[in-house]
């Protein structure tokens, strides 16, 4: 599945990022293939907000479709 299908509160595992330019930039913000991150919020039809400790990142919906993920833990 891809990141746009993640739900609020889920913990996710980033499997693959299918966008070379974003891939290298994302590593710097702590999002990389193999990283475990929380889906903090989903703006309806809009960006997905990921969080990692105190860090929050907004990922556009179309970009989210290019990021393959697994769900590690369902949200509360």
């Amino acid at each position: 599945m891809t990141l746009d299908m993640a739900k609020k509160g889920q913990k996710i595992y980033i499997k693959k990022i299918n966008d070379d330019k974003i891939k290298v930039q994302a590593i710097r913000l702590g999002i990389y293939e193999g990283a475990k991150i929380d889906c903090a919020l989903k703006i309806p039809f809009g960006p997905i907000i990921l969080s990692n400790r105190m860090q929050e990142i907004a990922v556009g919906r179309t970009l989210a479709k290019k990021i393959e993920i697994d769900i590690i833990k369902e949200g509360a």
Binding site: K23, L41, P47, G60
Partner: protein
Amino acid sequence: MECCRGLNIEIPKGYKKLVLAGNPNVGKSVFFNALTGMYVDVSNFPGTTVDISHGKYQDYVVLDTPGVYGVSSFNDEERVARDVILYGDVILNVVDALHLERDLFLTLQIIDMGKPVIVALNMMDDVERNGIKIDINKLSELLGVPVIPTVAVKGKGLEEVKENIKNARVGNIDAKIKEYLKEFNNKVEYQSEALMLLEDDETISERLNIKTLGKREEIYRLRREKVDKIAESVIIKEGKGNRIRQKISTLTLNPLTGIPILIMVLYLIFKVIGVWVAGDVVGFTEEKIMAGYYEPFIRHLTAKFFAEESLLYRLLVGEFGILTLTPTYVIGLLTPLVIAFYFFMSLMEDSGYLPRIAALVDRVLSFFGLNGRAIIPIILGFGCITMATITTRLLGTKREKIIATILLGFTIPCSAQLGVIAGMIAPLGTKYILIYSFTIIIVFALTGTILNRILPGESSELFIDLPPMRLPKLTNVLKKTWTKTIMFLKEATPLFALGALIITLLEETDILYKIQDLFKPITESVLRLPKETANAFIMGIIRRDFGAAGLTELSLTPEQTVVALVTITLFVPCIASIIVIFKERSKKEAGLIWLGSFILAFLVGGILAFLIV
């Protein structure tokens, strides 16, 4: 001198370059101010909206850099920061202690450059407030450089940082990267350049004419893993995070609450700017100071040197003179508005609200081939199209820059124009206000959607860091406002002068009147307006508010007023904006934009006239 390509910063003999580096919003400027005191210069990097502040501290030239997440060439800020950091002698790296795993990426990268580094671990009060504990000695040991805990805004730790600048040292360079660097080290002068080559930096590779190996991802991953390990081992106690801030953050992002908040904030801003700044302040600066005192004075002075009938006199101090229209417009009208707009933008930026607005509106703007970041030039467009067009530089791709420039030039009325429009339309009542607003919004949406369909290529997508919501520091906001305003004035004033010159020449050669005559029949038949309205449209080329103001002198029915206002809003941007568009875009694109706005204005105006007049 290798330092600061494109910048003219003189480094006196015997002085070293102390470079401040850090992620965005980590409080670098406080350190900069503490080091340099009052004597600071600001230099703009040509072709960017990025400024570098520089001053002196003991025998150092201190250079501030834009906040970046790493040294590379992904955007203008990074390119500028890169060129300053690469050739610095000592690096003061300011780190947000609350975001170690984000900020240490840059720290390790600078350490890998082999530069002497000192780390200021800032925002330690936030760390305590969140119940987090950090082992500072261990962090210093792992990095191999001095780490000083600070709370810069409260002045805590600043003296220790100053004292320890001389203790900055080369840190623990990653063993594997060190091995890789051997490939490049003998080909370049600085290890920093070698690291850039190892990380496939296109610009540096081109500049030094050395091929890269395609190892960027590997190096970045190596560094990321190391950062995560360091962060894990020095954070002794994890925090819960600040509940209130997180609540506010969520409220601004969730459309149900976020959209009303956004509307309220924008309403407040436009109320302050539209009523107080555009009314009272500009009334004083433009009418009283510039038109009342300055213009008569400069006319009187010029008359002493040139005959009042001479062309030169008219060029200098005539109706559209370089010494009359330009300063009155730039200082009297634009400066207060630009200051106000930059003030609110800086306030939203420093509080962390601006990136959240970008996330909130991302979906809507994506229909027009833009991402959320384009909200910045769009908001600024309501201030001044010239200022907003310059800001389109921050957009990711050429495609987005073109779309944003066209939307700004075509559909957004600037504050000068808005004032006159509001004055004319308000007495007509709600119905006409709605007709006007809906027409403009529909044209905006249609133009954006069509451009997104027909322009080749792909737009970049939203991928932004959302910094924590913080109470902004007023001195920082004011400083930002000041440097941005100065930058705008430096860049735009010559354009307004050039615009004034062109208009005077057009008038002198009667071309202005010929254009008016050309438009009169269209105005009468297509727009169903009195033919004198064409004069107002042509005046709109000089200053958009002149155009709108020209309409007030005509007797129009309410329907005709709306048609005229819609047409003049969509009509060509003012001459200074056009010059900026020509500067920023290719001649062909700019020419098409200019021509397109004529066609669009009369087309939409004509349709509206057909429907309601």
